[in-house]
């Protein structure tokens, strides 16, 4: 008799109610999906959105300085005398955007606003910045070390391609005063505590600076924070704000 009942009971859809195992299983699947969504957001989506916004902010700032200079051009430095010191900004207040950095090796359109301090929330993760200036280091064109920091991966992937630099690559730093060109010289891989890279002569506390350096610090390896990648460059040239360097002429104002 029991065997005759079984097919009848199987007819139609089984309507199961809530069971502990069923709910638990669905919660676990949901948790897994949430973790995957978070990873996708962190690695891909957030960086994509942030990189676009940061590029756009840099393009606007950059174009504004060029336009201002077009209305009232500033005189070119006297190139007859070989050693003319480039102008140096007054020390910017914390969080003030005071420069735009161009690094063609990181992408034809790569540009970021540099703000004062290396504060995580207000500078490095900001939708309108991305690169921060170590407040106690020198400024663009100043004798000593102009040191900046940015994320490597995540939050805009600012310097994710920094390790692809080649000797001789140019960094262009634009301020309201003009264009400072630095030439990439070498890398150093250090521990996060290696503050010596920020010294006026990097890593040489006893030396008195005579050259103008620029130092970029970022995380290494990508998606970890175990070490820091340092890129050193030396000052090469200065140009007034209306004379956009030819290598980045096409990139200025693009992406705004």
């Amino acid at each position: 008799m029991a065997s005759e009942e079984t097919p009848a009971r199987r007819r139609g859809r089984p309507r199961r109610g809530l069971t502990v195992v069923g709910v638990l299983g669905e919660l676990l699947i949901t948790a897994g999906v949430l973790v995957l969504l978070f990873l996708g957001w962190q690695v891909w989506w957030n960086s994509l959105v942030l990189a676009g916004q940061q590029t756009s902010a840099a393009a606007q700032q950059s174009q504004k300085w060029v336009n201002d200079a077009m209305k009232a051009p500033k005189p070119a430095p006297d190139t007859a005398t070989a050693q003319v010191a480039p102008p140096v900004l007054a020390k910017p207040a914390p969080y003030q955007p005071f420069a735009v950095l161009y690094v063609p090796r990181l992408g034809a359109d790569w540009k970021r606003v540099i703000r004062q301090t290396v504060d995580t929330d207000r500078v490095l993760n900001s939708y309108t910045a991305g690169v921060g200036h170590y407040i106690d280091t020198q400024l663009p064109g100043q004798v000593g070390n102009f040191a900046v920091a940015g994320h490597d991966s995540g939050w805009g992937n600012t310097f994710i391609d920094l390790s692809k630099l080649r000797i001789g690559d140019r960094f262009y730093v634009q301020t309201q005063d003009g264009w400072y060109t630095y030439t990439f010289r070498n890398f150093e891989y250090v521990q996060p505590s290696a503050v010596g890279v920020l010294l006026p002569v990097p890593r040489q506390p006893a030396e008195t600076p005579v050259e103008r350096f620029m130092t970029i610090t970022t995380c290494n390896p990508p998606f970890h924070a175990g070490e820091r990648l340092i890129a050193y460059s030396v000052f090469q040239a200065f140009a007034p704000p209306q004379d956009v360097p030819s290598e980045i002429a096409a990139a200025v104002g693009q992406g705004g």
């Binding site: 109610g17 809530l18 957001w41 995580t120 490095l124 996060p192 505590s193 820091r228």
Partner: protein, 52 residues
């Protein structure tokens, strides 16, 4: 759990589908806007800075 939710929703199947999609959009928006940045801030610094 989700099957129970589906049964609780009113209307024909396409109305239920629209409701489910609307709920998903709201949940995703909340995650991206508030929850994920908050979780990220808990994961510790991913900074590129050197310091003591």
């Amino acid at each position: 759990m989700y099957a129970a939710l589906w049964r609780v929703l009113p209307g024909p199947w396409w109305v239920r589908l629209l409701i489910v999609l609307a709920i998903l959009v709201v949940v995703l928006f909340a995650l991206v806007t508030w929850v994920f940045p908050w979780v990220d801030s808990l994961l510790g610094p991913q900074e590129g800075t050197v310091g003591p």
